[in-house]
């Protein structure tokens, strides 16, 4: 699904440049649930940004489902993000003046899907995350866990190939974190490819594979025995 070869990325900070990713080779097969770990400054967020087409690598290749991701202009990048990727953020990033349903329907709006159809699809995903009854509520009327569920429904709404989650449990307490992880595991069980950036070991243990990043290189990449989140709730 994801194929990365010899990826380099550096940022210019005034006169000196900061080499963040120093040759990453990495591939993810379809249906995997991968966690990317590393201390801050290890380059994990940069890697996620490049995977999410929010940033472009200096050198190296990135192939997503057989499609080379290279030299994208803003418009095509936006279309690819919309079609291929679903984002889950640490701070949920729901649009505050839209209710849960409209938030979920937003990616569909940018696909040009008609209003009625959009509402139907969004509703089905809200049902999937167990928030159908909350469809008409604004984000500030929801708890943190509920917000993240809405965000997950939104990420799923466009039926993407890959879900990219940046510290999806970073703003949640342990119990809620596990509930969210349970949801993510459930989605993965259905065959969806998911990448999670986290620095929490217990969250990483709940994935199927842990990639450890340090100073811009992968120092460890191993499959683990998945811990089911439900057993910890």
């Amino acid at each position: 699904m994801i194929e990365i070869k010899n990826l380099h990325k550096s940022y210019k900070m005034g006169s000196n440049s900061l080499h963040v990713l120093k040759g990453i080779n990495f591939s993810v097969a379809e249906g995997e649930l991968v966690s990317i770990m590393g201390s801050s400054g290890s380059g994990k967020s940069t890697l996620l940004n490049i995977l999410g087409m929010l940033d472009e690598a200096d050198s190296g290749t990135y192939t997503l489902d057989g499609l080379p991701i290279k030299n994208l202009n803003e418009k095509i990048a936006a279309q690819y993000r919309n079609k291929f990727l679903g984002f889950i953020f640490q701070s949920f990033n729901l649009i505050s003046y839209k209710n849960a349903l409209d938030n979920v329907a937003l990616p569909l709006y940018y696909q040009g899907i008609k209003h009625k159809e959009r509402v139907d699809i969004a509703m089905s995903y809200l049902e999937k995350v167990g928030l159908a009854d909350w469809a008409g509520h604004l984000p500030n009327e929801l708890s943190g866990g509920q917000k993240q569920r809405v965000a997950i429904a939104r990420a799923l709404a466009s039926n993407p190939k890959v879900l990219l989650a940046d510290e999806p449990t970073g703003a949640l307490d342990t119990k809620t974190s596990y509930e969210v992880m349970d949801l993510i595991q459930g989605i993965n069980d259905e065959g969806r490819t998911i990448l999670i950036v986290t620095h929490e070991h217990d969250i990483a243990e709940m994935t199927k594979r842990i990639v450890n990043l340090k100073d811009g290189v992968i120092i460890d990449d191993s499959k683990v025995n998945q811990v089911r989140a439900l057993s910890n709730v």
Partner: protein, 420 residues
């Protein structure tokens, strides 16, 4: 571009902060309000002043014979000459685009001796010998009877049309005027009509103290022969009398052996030129109204631009998320631009509505009073002005949104991820 979804996006964004939206809108509302009110006031003044002309054919000039200042063809300078009745036909024949050429003879005048007698009463009035067209050049309301017609001209009928002021002086209240006789310089004329003049140009009181009689009867009764005292000439609507008058003078000069370069031999008063000057004044007034109005509007637009900048800043996160979810730069730019244009147009419409409401109120008040003395009547803006104002609004809404929209697409989705 104008899908329902886009509109609901825009409305949602704007209604998410009502108070700010209304405050922002007020700036533009105020600007367009001032613009429309200023234009309407200018129009009101213009209407008032033009009403003062009382419907006079403004594309007209008056000319009379003076004394030639240059000797020509053996004739000395300083001699006297008069226009002849045959000049009228010659002018009509040789100069194109003339609507009316009315010759006129006149008795009396300002400060003249008593020339009109009726029974025991006498008075000094202007007595004009005129052709029927004069009523089109110098409009007057015929309050009873009729005006001079061509039968009167052809048959040299001694009939007269009296002004309201004449009747006041010469008749007792309630006395029958039509059919009575009035003696002008010893010649009896039968009264066939009365008039009242509109407008306040010249001397409004003096304008009512005039007597009109047929030109031919006048010439015969007062021994004018072929002589014509002066002429009032009106050009067709498409052409200006100012351009035609040299041709008219040339006809007169050649017919009366006047030196072609002798400009003093013919006196004239060009009403069109005077009227153009006044028109120029109103064009200047309009320009000032646009200038001030647009400047005030500009400050409102800067307000919108400013607020949109803040809105974009506040919505950095939202815009970043939208980008991450697949909004193209044009989606974002379009949304900000449309929000700005929509806000501008809605507030502008409110401003126009408010201003026209106030104009309607003023008009209602003015309806109750006689505006003929006020130099101010019927302040209004025509539909054209409203459309101009609207297009100014659309363009300015676009301009107001441009910088904020450009700022908005500079926001990278990465920024939305980095909000911790």
């Amino acid at each position: 571009m104008f899908s329902r979804d886009k509109w609901s996006e825009i409305l949602e964004a704007l209604t998410s902060n009502w108070f700010r939206t209304i405050l922002t809108a007020f700036g533009v509302l105020w600007g367009i309000f001032i613009l429309v009110i200023l234009l309407a006031a200018g129009k009101g003044l213009e209407n008032g002043v033009k009403q003062g002309f009382g419907g006079i054919a403004t594309n007209s000039m008056f000319m009379w014979a003076q004394t030639p200042s240059k000797p020509y063809k053996g004739l000395p300078k300083g001699r006297r000459y008069n226009f002849k009745i045959s000049d009228v036909a010659a002018i009509k024949q040789n100069v194109p685009n003339l609507k009316y050429v009315s010759p006129r003879n006149q008795l009396g005048g300002f400060g003249g001796a008593n020339n009109v007698v009726r029974g025991l009463k006498s008075g000094a009035f202007n007595v004009y010998g005129d052709y029927p067209e004069v009523i089109k050049q110098e409009p007057m309301d015929i309050t009873s009877g009729r005006f001079v017609n061509y039968s009167d001209i052809e048959q040299n009928r001694k009939v007269a049309i009296l002004g309201a002021g004449v009747i006041n002086d010469m008749y007792d209240p309630g006395e029958e005027v039509i059919g009575s006789y009035i003696k002008v310089n010893g010649v009896n004329f039968m009264v066939i009509g009365t008039y009242r003049k509109k407008g306040n140009n010249g001397n409004p009181e003096e304008n009512q103290k005039q007597i009109y009689v047929p030109f031919t009867a006048f010439s015969q009764a007062f021994n004018m022969g072929e002589t014509v005292g002066w002429m009032s000439i009106t050009a067709e609507d498409g052409s200006s009398i100012t351009d035609l008058k040299t041709q008219i003078f040339d006809v007169i000069k050649s017919r009366h052996s006047i030196h072609p370069e002798d400009d003093r031999a013919i006196g004239n008063f060009d009403l069109f030129q005077e009227f153009s000057k006044i028109n120029g004044l109103f064009i200047a007034l309009k320009a000032v109204a646009y200038f001030v109005g647009i400047l005030v509007l500009l400050s409102g637009i800067i307000g919108i631009s400013n607020i949109m900048l803040i809105v974009v800043k506040e919505r950095t996160n939202e815009i970043g998320v939208r980008r991450a979810l697949g909004a193209t730069p044009w989606d974002i730019r379009g949304q900000i631009l449309m929000e700005s244009i929509f806000l501008t147009i809605i507030s502008g419409m409110c401003g126009i509505a408010l201003a026209t409401g106030i104009i309607a109120l003023v008009n209602m008040q003015l309806d109750g009073v006689d505006t003929s003395e006020m130099m101010f009547a019927n302040p209004s803006v025509d539909l054209g002005v409203v459309f101009i104002a609207l297009s100014i609004l659309i363009i300015s809404g676009l301009l107001a949104g441009l910088i904020p929209a450009q700022n908005a697409i500079k926001i990278q989705p990465v920024d939305a991820l980095r909000t911790e």
